[in-house]
Amino acid sequence: MKKFVVGLVFLALGCVQVNSYVKPDVDFSKIKKIAVVKFNSQVATDITILALIQRGFNVVEKEKLSESGKQSLQNEGIDAILYGSTEESRETFIREVAEVSVSLRMYDSINDKLIWSANSIKKDLSEINKNIRMMVDTIPKKEGIL
């Protein structure tokens, strides 16, 4: 029985894939259109955009943002800006193991404040799709969708 409990604890630890935090005083129902600034990985950028669309957000992809770009974002009705980063690590001594860390952060386009952040640290590269989707799923849903 004790072994079973220990096993369960290990299983639970292994199941924690993503870490996220939502700023509590933010009304996410107002976040409808998100600008995604291209990450250092195009694959991760595309997966994130797809997950956001499936989550019900309107998404536009941006190469990068400048101060004038920020003004145009507001003109385009963009409510939030999402940045992301990935870091890949490989171990090749015994067998090839590819792992990736992904970090996403969303800022309010009006006041520049960080309103949501999530990461997944050193997870199997083959699970990047699932992990990004899990991260995006922690963004509170806007009302009346899905």
Partner: protein, 199 residues
């Protein structure tokens, strides 16, 4: 069963082994610091000794150059984790691009004009610092961007934008890279008691 107990104990000990040293300036009221900007942490590669670098590396220099982007990416992931920890502890974290508009060179000391610009845009404090990675004893592989490391260290400082004074400093000498979130929270928690006490 005995083995399981020892394994469990080792696991618990390893989780609790992140050591953070910090200093908080005693005469600063941290409850007035709300809006902070974090500068991307300067990435560094720490080499303990030349013998720790594997001999099959084509040249030490090329290995370092090839690994630069990897260390940069890792630095970005940690910077984001610290931003998340700051948000969790009630700070308003301001977008870095906003800082870039006000500061010419993020890695060098602020000029008086830059400091005033930050204050007038409502930023109370700036956090900056360094992250160092420790290549494993097996060292680098001279294969472009492939680098093997499992440990890192972190040092952070907070400057009061209103006075230009250093008001907080913390460092963590060694942790596993999987523990990024735990390290970030532990480091930021060295400020929290002062804020919660309204000091």
């Amino acid at each position: 069963m005995k083995k399981m107990f020892v394994l469990g104990l080792l696991l618990l000990l390893s989780f609790g082994c992140i050591r953070v040293q910090s200093y908080v300036k005693p005469d600063v009221n941290f409850s007035t610091i709300k809006k902070v900007a974090i500068v991307k942490l300067g990435p560094q590669i720490a080499v303990k000794s030349e013998s720790s670098i594997k001999s099959d590396v084509k040249s030490e220099k090329s290995a370092f150059e090839g690994s630069a982007s990897v260390v940069n990416d890792f630095s970005q992931i940690i910077t984001d984790a610290i931003s998340m920890a700051l948000m969790q502890r009630g700070f308003d974290v301001i977008q870095r691009s906003h800082l870039k508009d006000l500061v010419q060179n993020e890695q060098s000391d602020l000029t008086e004009a830059e400091r005033k610009a930050l204050v007038s845009s409502g930023i109370d404090a700036i956090i900056y610092g360094n992250v160092s990675i420790f290549p494993d004893s097996s060292g680098f592989l001279g294969l472009g961007q492939i680098i093997i490391f499992s440990k890192f260290s972190l040092s952070l400082k907070m400057m009061d934008a209103r006075t230009g004074k250093l008001i907080w400093s913390a460092n963590m000498l060694e942790a596993d890279r999987e523990e990024i979130n735990k390290v970030a929270m532990k480091v930021i928690d060295t400020i929290s008691p002062r804020r919660e006490a309204g000091q």
